[in-house]
């Protein structure tokens, strides 16, 4: 993609990146610090109450890894005590779940959770799955204290926050090896078919999980400073990577 100002992808990526940096409170941020800054940045930019990243697997919730504040952490956990909620649904359906008014009569999906959340001062929830195809890592939950839908631009920004959160979870970082943020090496979750085909192949070759397969491909490509799609082509055309090599 070109770096033209008119490119909405580039513009939104830059916005999310600078928003994370503005909310970092640690000079050597680890994964949790980055995700907490992402939660605070998303809430601030979208003018919402707060946000949280909940890790999930096919077995269920693995716990809140980062949140903008303690109350938002509680709001996620509430979904798992009541056994229902947007976070559950977003993960299971692999698509965003948008609930602009929990107190609305039309909102019948999670009556138990909705009343608990409204009591805690939350009126809207937007749950965005952190997924790459069948590989599910978790959910980014955004909470608003007022009822109201996100407009198209806000949804697009929220999805960009979710994409960046997914990349942080896959890569364990937002930075390059020397600790500097390097926009040139930053690769979006590229939609090219070959990358996902190679991800499936490598998973079988190494006997690892689907998400880990992509993590390793990304680390290998970044480490060699080469495009991910080139590595994907190598894997598809039969280059065999042994354990330890990638």
């Amino acid at each position: 993609m070109s770096g033209a100002d008119g490119d909405p992808w580039r513009r939104r990526r830059d916005l999310v990146r600078s928003s994370i940096l503005a909310h970092l409170d640690n000079d050597e941020p680890g994964l949790v610090d980055l995700l907490a800054a992402l939660c605070r940045g998303a809430a601030a930019h979208l003018e919402l109450r707060g946000a949280a990243v909940n890790l999930m697997s096919s077995k269920g919730s693995e716990g809140v890894v980062a949140a903008s504040d303690a109350a938002c952490k509680d709001l996620v956990e509430m979904q798992f005590t009541s056994g229902e909620g947007p976070c559950h649904d977003a993960f299971a359906l692999r698509r965003p779940v948008l609930a602009p008014d929990l107190a609305s009569a039309r909102e019948q999906r999670w009556r138990g959770y909705a009343s608990l959340a409204v009591e805690a001062g939350v009126r809207s929830v937007f749950a965005l799955p952190l997924h790459v195809g069948a590989a599910g890592l978790g959910v980014l939950d955004l909470y608003g204290e007022h009822p109201g839908a996100l407009d198209d631009e806000q949804v697009a920004i929220a999805l960009t926050f979710a994409q960046v959160a997914t990349e942080i979870l896959l890569d364990g970082r937002l930075t390059t090896a020397d600790g500097n943020l390097d926009p040139d090496l930053e690769s979006a979750l590229d939609y090219r078919s070959e990358i996902f085909q190679a991800q499936g192949m490598l998973m079988i070759v190494l006997g690892i999980g689907l998400a880990e397969s992509l993590s390793r491909m990304r680390a290998h490509a970044f480490g060699h400073g080469s495009p991910l799609v080139d590595l994907a082509h190598e894997i598809i055309s039969g280059r065999v990577f042994e354990e330890g090599e990638i």
Partner: protein, 239 residues
């Protein structure tokens, strides 16, 4: 130009699918195949725009790496990108003269043996969700009636996208698009799993998956998940 027999088959099959539960990606593949048969085109593909208006490959009559390149490049230039932006069909019957318009796309398409290319918008009210891309190895002239028929097929793709879960959940367009894009990724991942497990090329892996899904009345995306999670052994797909 338009073959009426295949058009009727397509109409009957697609109407039949849309009234029941169906798999979107599988449906779009069928739609691409029908469009190719009806228009006598050599290759047909479908692209969807994501929330950043980036065009993403969804389905095609051939998803060999060779052809994928033709769709990938259209994020930068090409008939689909133009069609996506101007909200109108783009008809080019002689690609060899389109080098000025698309300096990268036109020579690439010609080098793969194509001489004509058309793109039709996936329209929804004042928006365009993506484009249907029709390639011909010969110059494929289309008259007004042909354009209307192929545009109608593109409209069917839009309807399918909106219809997929309309009965199950009141979803916004963004939610439906995100679901569609993610389903497509799942199917690519499963193709890789099947290709590696069964020692076949990815195109053959996809055929194995489609055949199995058809025989067992399974949704392609659910089969893809079963492949990736190991719930089903990819070897069971070989017949």
């Amino acid at each position: 130009m338009i073959a009426s027999g295949p058009l009727m088959d397509a109409f009957v099959e697609m109407a039949d699918t849309l009234v029941d539960e169906f798999d979107l990606i599988d449906f779009l593949h069928h739609l691409a195949e029908h469009t190719a048969a009806i228009s006598e085109a050599s290759s047909v593909g479908l692209l969807l725009g994501d929330h950043d208006d980036r065009l993403t490959f969804m389905a095609a009559t051939s998803s060999s790496a060779e052809h994928l390149e033709l769709y990938q490049i259209q994020n930068l230039e090409g008939p689909c990108l133009d069609c996506f932006r101007i909200h109108q069909p783009v008809i080019v019957t002689d690609l060899s003269k389109a080098g000025g318009r698309w300096p990268a796309f036109a020579p690439l398409a010609v080098s793969k043996g194509f001489h004509s290319v058309h793109a039709f918008p996936l329209r929804l009210r004042d928006q365009v969700l993506g484009a249907l891309n029709v390639f011909g190895v010969e110059q494929l002239p289309l008259d007004d009636a042909d354009v209307r028929v192929i545009q109608a097929l593109a409209d069917v793709a839009t309807i399918a996208l909106l219809q997929e879960r309309a009965l199950a959940a009141a979803e916004t367009l963004t939610q439906q698009l995100q679901g569609a894009l993610n389903s497509r990724i799942m199917i690519e991942q499963a193709k890789g799993v099947v290709a590696q497990s069964n020692g076949v090329p990815v195109t053959e892996a996809f055929e194995q998956m489609r055949r199995y899904a058809r025989q067992h009345h399974a949704l392609l995306s659910e089969l893809a998940v079963a492949m990736v999670t190991g719930e089903l052994d990819p070897k069971d797909l070989r017949t």
